[in-house]
Symmetry: C2
Subunit: 333 residues, 2 copies
């Protein structure tokens, strides 16, 4: 296999110098139309592709961004949303010729690897996914002064790590209002973990609508898994047998709640209305199908990438972006 052509070969083929080729490559000013055309032709003829390593060596820019997944590993299946976010990020970054490296940060070893990677200057920016409150990684990245944004707020760091997110709080209000409008009187909720923005904000939205009617007795916490939805529902039922609606902070937990209700002989939505959140793929497959809140996942991903690129391009600080949710009425409520 012949050696790959270098910028020298292109320069020779075009009858100009390295400098001129480099200028064309980087859209620099001061290149005559003739030279520009000659270089373009030479690039096509030789099949030249710039060597990113050589370029990075001098520019100190890598042309890549690292996405860090902080979710612990067991929860592998719990978040189909990752798929959308990853795809959107790849697409948008790819348009700018930036490539996406994915790393895990589930345990300390993983985290060290990420820090090492970033300290080594291997990425121009960091895209944080599902980073938990108090994650030491955030402080480390902060001290490295590398552009970083999060997909969904990082609790306690809302003002230091810009983010894009769905309007969890308003989404929860939409669902709770819907339940109220259906004439439900005793509305309970199953929340997500209280160290995640979704866990906190969706509970706040619920409380916003219900006010003092949102008593402690009607609140149970889950961990986003289906199993936790089942058991939380069981606890609610035991404590408040006459509840007639429940707002569950994720579809997967709602699916769990549904099984518990069925096992307890409650009809949905006749006896108990169930509202989910996410509009994930399970929502349509449950029986009955879930009334839920749709998050604009693709838009959130787009905005996250946009923020990161803006940060990398050196604009000043950027502001968080919150995107609206929408109520999807199916049969469960």
């Amino acid at each position: 296999m012949a050696k790959r052509p270098t910028i020298h070969d292109v320069a020779a083929a075009a009858g100009v110098s390295r400098g001129t080729v480099s200028r064309v490559l980087n859209d620099d000013r001061y290149v005559s139309p003739a030279a520009h055309a000659a270089v373009r032709r030479a690039i096509a003829e030789t099949g030249y592709i710039v060597n990113r390593n050589a370029r990075s060596l001098v520019t100190q820019r890598t042309g890549s961004v690292v996405m860090v997944l902080s979710e612990p590993h067991e929860k592998v299946f719990e978040d189909p949303n990752y798929s959308t976010t990853i795809r959107t990020a790849i697409r948008r970054l790819g348009e700018r010729d930036v490539s996406l490296v994915i790393m895990l940060a589930g345990d300390d070893g993983d985290r060290d690897r990420v820090v090492h990677y970033v300290r080594g200057g291997h990425a121009d920016g960091v895209l944080l996914m599902s980073t938990h409150a108090g994650d030491p990684l955030v402080d480390e990245l902060e001290s490295l002064r590398i552009p970083a944004v999060a997909c969904g707020a990082v609790i306690g760091k809302e003002n230091v790590i810009p983010y894009a997110a769905a309007d969890d709080r308003e989404g929860a209000r939409q669902m709770t209002r819907h339940l109220v409008e259906q004439g439900r009187k005793k509305i309970a909720t199953i929340t997500g973990p209280m160290d995640t923005p979704g866990g906190i904000q969706r509970l706040e939205g619920f409380a916003d609508v219900l006010g003092r009617k949102a008593s402690r007795k009607l609140i149970e916490h889950g961990d986003w898994t289906q199993l936790s939805g089942e058991s939380a529902m069981a606890r609610l039922l035991e404590r408040t047998p006459d509840l007639d609606a429940v707002f569950v902070a994720s579809d997967l937990m709602a699916a769990g709640a549904l099984s518990t209700l069925r096992a307890a002989g409650r009809r949905v939505p006749d006896d108990v209305a169930v509202g989910g959140f996410d509009d994930s793929s399970v929502a349509a497959t449950t029986h009955p199908p879930l009334t839920t809140i749709r998050q604009p996942l693709a838009d959130v991903a787009e905005e996250t990438v946009r923020l990161l690129l803006a940060l990398i391009d050196g604009g000043g600080p950027v502001d968080p972006v919150i995107l609206p949710t929408r109520l999807i009425v199916r049969e469960s409520a």
Copy 2:
């Protein structure tokens, strides 16, 4: 921010030359214990991290691998398996200090980008995901002579692209046998697309067990989506109202089949037994829960990565790996 230390700084701190530091870094022979220790200490003191770009520039190795997702974009949610595979790949590669870049190859533009990336020498190997029969990308990669493996066979290229996969055919046999053993007499099947290994092999396994009883009339094709499962089931029911079992080639399509059956007033499993495939997260949430075939996804991913690393490390050709599946009995059959 102070400039990052280079190999020169480490050499100076350790009182040796660049060459010696480089030898320590690359575990080369011929370094005295004393020098080795001094260099190690100097690395720790200075916080030195090797500059991959400079290294790649001379070694022509990048220390990264690109995973190519060929699935068209609309099917974003259809394959929760991606999550497992991506995570496993990141983990295993990370252990070897290889990073994972993800690219899409859904349309021609994407594909060009991938080829450009690989031709540019930006990756040491390629990991193909869900590549369809006749994908031109495969030929292009082949001609570039870059190490490439697939997660799941690439139809028509089984002998040129090594792969790891679950034993789809035997899995289908397990399920079909199970249905037969339950005393089912008229067993139909809903297959995946016939240009995917899962589509083909699962139908073959079905036919292996049923022999001539697997008549055309009892076979319908879907495209892995829930909706396609619904309509395929409707067609089967119309053509063969007295069928008493159906083997559906994916859980998601099985969920669709379940709704159709329910709508048609058939009881599952009393009137019609339903068997799925994948043991994906929907399998447990359907009503009734799906009897299905579990694929060892994590193992498949591990093996895929192992094959790729072996190929990159320059061993000769490697052999495909097929891993066993397992019947998971729930309530639908």
